[in-house]
């Protein structure tokens, strides 16, 4: 389990509180519900069960079943209803238990949420927030281990967020709810237990900019979500060899913050992209293309990619580990970019 050490350094005089990623998301949901009567949350087992990953535990008692709304197993139906409720003036948070089940509501997201504004000539907007858990690493095998963030990042008309830190887990939801357009938030399942401290008054954060989580001069490691912590661990290992890697957390997967990525790559002249998606058609591929388009003349080495192997995620741990991006592969790709 990563420790949330890349969180903003404590400013003197600001009270800090201990939290976890899960608690930070819950605090954000609670605050949203308290602040805006138009906000409610719905999804499978968000109420009585307490949330598949216990994110919404306790909220039913606090806010009641109208606003902590258990739904049937009807992903297309309740996501579509969330979109409709947003159209009708509410500010819903829809929880799709995991991205693995979101294929059943992809039609609603792609063909309704993402297109209404455009198809109506700008008359209507859909201020819905859809949260889903994503990622592998818990030996849940092929159907429960997907990282399909890139599929969503492919769609014009929605914004896609991937909070990797406690601050972002705490702060992205409020900004997403204030956004007039649909926002999809991906929470990596391996981060829910991540513990650390955040400012007691932590609140909304921007959702436009990527963030440099570690400064370095020798190469840029570009990543997001659960892979951030593996990338930071790799950067520590590289530092012991005298290689100073800059680590960029994309935070927002659509629209991508090209400026932050390119500013870094122009300085370091080398880049490796780390992405839990399958390599073919990956976000890593998109980022590599953009770097080539915008920074070709600054590059001193081919861009490296560390992605998930092109295989459905196998159940046994050794095979699952081998399929996913891991610290040694990131270190190796970084060394290769430096010709070592």
């Amino acid at each position: 389990m990563p420790a949330a050490s890349a969180s903003a350094a404590a400013a003197p005089g600001v009270a800090r509180i201990a939290t976890t990623y899960r608690e930070a998301v819950r605090a954000a949901i609670r605050e949203a519900l308290a602040r805006d009567p138009r906000t409610f949350i719905m999804g499978e087992d968000v109420g009585r069960y307490g949330g598949c990953y216990a994110v919404t535990k306790g909220l039913l008692d606090e806010f009641g079943p109208e606003r902590i709304r258990d739904t049937p197993l009807s992903e297309s139906g309740f996501v579509g209803a969330g979109i409709g409720a947003a159209l009708g003036g509410m500010r819903p948070i829809v929880e799709v238990m995991t991205v693995n089940f979101s294929m059943l509501c992809l039609d609603q997201i792609l063909n309704t949420a993402a297109t209404l504004r455009h198809m109506s000539g700008g008359q209507f907007s859909v201020p819905v927030v859809i949260r889903m858990a994503t990622g592998a690493g818990r030996q849940l095998a092929a159907q429960h281990s997907h990282s399909l963030e890139n599929w969503y990042a492919h769609i014009p008309g929605i914004r896609v967020l991937a909070p990797a830190t406690l601050e972002d887990a705490r702060g992205m939801l409020a900004t997403a709810l204030a956004d007039p357009d649909p926002v999809v938030i991906f929470e990596n399942v391996m981060l829910y237990n991540m513990a650390g401290e955040i400012a007691a008054d932590a609140g909304a954060v921007d959702i436009d900019r990527a963030s440099v989580r570690r400064a370095g001069r020798d190469l840029s490691l570009v990543t997001y979500g659960g892979s951030l912590w593996k990338t930071l661990a790799a950067a520590d290992e590289l530092a012991r060899e005298g290689i100073e890697a800059e680590v960029i957390d994309l935070r927002t997967l659509r629209p991508l913050d090209d400026a932050t990525i390119m500013a870094s790559v122009r300085r370091t002249r080398r880049a490796v992209v780390i992405d839990e998606g399958w390599r073919t058609g990956s976000l890593a591929g998109e980022i590599s293309a953009r770097i080539v388009e915008q920074c070709f003349w600054s590059l001193d080495a081919p861009i490296g990619r560390v992605c998930t192997a092109e295989v459905p995620i196998p159940y046994p741990k050794h095979l699952e580990d081998a399929a996913l991006p891991q610290v040694p592969a990131i270190v190796a790709a970084a060394r290769a970019a430096l010709g070592r």
């Binding site: 499978e44 069960y49 049937p72 197993l73 046994p316």
Partner: protein, 332 residues
């Protein structure tokens, strides 16, 4: 012992003992799986069928070897009752390459071509269209097989349930839909997830003939399944069986069970399908204490052997990581 072609179960002593044994095998296998989970030998999600054994065992009595079975992530019971051997099943639970899915699937993805066991599907509702397609293939190739499709009542809320009912009825396909109504989909009770809680009525509105049966009574399930399968084989199209049952354990290993009371669980445990059949068998003199003792001993040996088999099994080499993604082609 009765044969599957007969419409009614014959409660001979061998048949009653066979039903009891099959349910007990599932129970003891899964109890061991729960222990192995605590020992971290089995990982990922583990959904136990304990309490629901009568459904799988009862329905399987009506099937022939050529028939097909489609199940969910809670499928150890169906696999064992269908005849998937315990050794490769346990090895699959471990993720060893001697497993029935070569270790790639684990608990939620048991597959076995030899018994026409088509998984092991961890997407709720995902198996229903598959069953419709298997039945369509049988029909188009003039094979008289039946496809039995197991799913929970939670799946009845999914579009795929409704689309599958309609297709199967429209094309009069040989599918036996078996709804295991255990009252909860994870923590969501039927009454808070369905406007119409009578699942049978949903199937009926697609003109799929439907029956409700006490899913804690293996004989009742067997009788209902035999009648339904006989109708399917007679060309009457798909049939629907709602089996009212209960899971005694948590949804999976991570469930605090905040949504139901201990008393409710205890009340249902009094209707344990194994205890009921064994008590009835004793009361009519078909089952004796010595039978149970012998059965327990044999099953204990079988379960232990499966654990030994799994322990002795091997991990697939890392060099095989990308194996079985697509069909191997001959080198050009």
């Amino acid at each position: 012992m009765s044969t599957a072609r007969e419409a009614k179960p014959h409660l001979t002593r061998p048949h009653v003992l066979a039903l009891l044994r099959e349910m007990l095998r599932i129970r003891r296998f899964e109890e061991r799986c729960a222990e192995l989970y605590q020992q971290e030998k089995i990982r990922g999600f583990l959904h136990l069928y304990i309490g629901e054994e009568a459904v799988a065992v009862g329905v399987m009595q009506a099937l022939l070897p050529e028939d097909a079975v489609v199940a969910t992530y809670r499928e150890h019971g169906q696999a064992l009752a269908r005849g998937v051997a315990m050794n490769p099943l346990m090895a699959e639970m471990y993720g060893k390459q001697e497993g029935c899915s070569r270790g790639r699937g684990g608990s939620m993805h048991v597959f076995d071509a030899a018994t026409r066991f088509y998984g092991g599907n961890a997407i709720v509702g995902g198996g229903l269209p598959l069953a419709v397609g298997l039945a369509l293939a049988d029909r188009m190739q003039n094979r008289a097989n039946v496809t039995a499709c197991f799913f929970g009542e939670g799946a009845a809320a999914e579009g795929e349930f409704h689309e599958s009912m309609n297709l199967a009825a429209l094309w009069r396909l040989p599918v036996l839909f078996v709804c295991e109504n255990n009252l909860y989909a994870m923590g969501t009770a039927l009454a808070i997830s369905e406007s119409e809680t009578d699942i049978r009525a949903k199937a009926q509105c697609y003109r799929v003939p439907s029956a409700v049966v006490d899913g804690m009574d293996v004989v009742a399930v067997e009788a209902a399944a035999r009648a339904a399968v006989a109708a399917i084989r007679a060309g009457e199209g798909p049939q629907f069986l709602e089996c009212r049952t209960y899971r005694f354990r948590a949804h999976s290993m991570f469930d605090a069970q905040l949504y139901r009371s201990k008393e409710e669980v205890e009340r249902w445990k009094e209707r344990c399908p194994i205890a009921q059949l064994s008590a009835w068998g004793r009361s009519v003199g078909l089952v004796h204490d010595a039978d149970i003792a012998a059965m327990e001993a044999e099953i204990a040996t079988e379960v232990q052997a499966s654990v030994d088999f799994a322990e002795a099994g091997s991990w697939e080499p890392l060099s095989d990581l990308a194996r079985d993604v697509t069909t191997p082609r001959e080198a050009a």
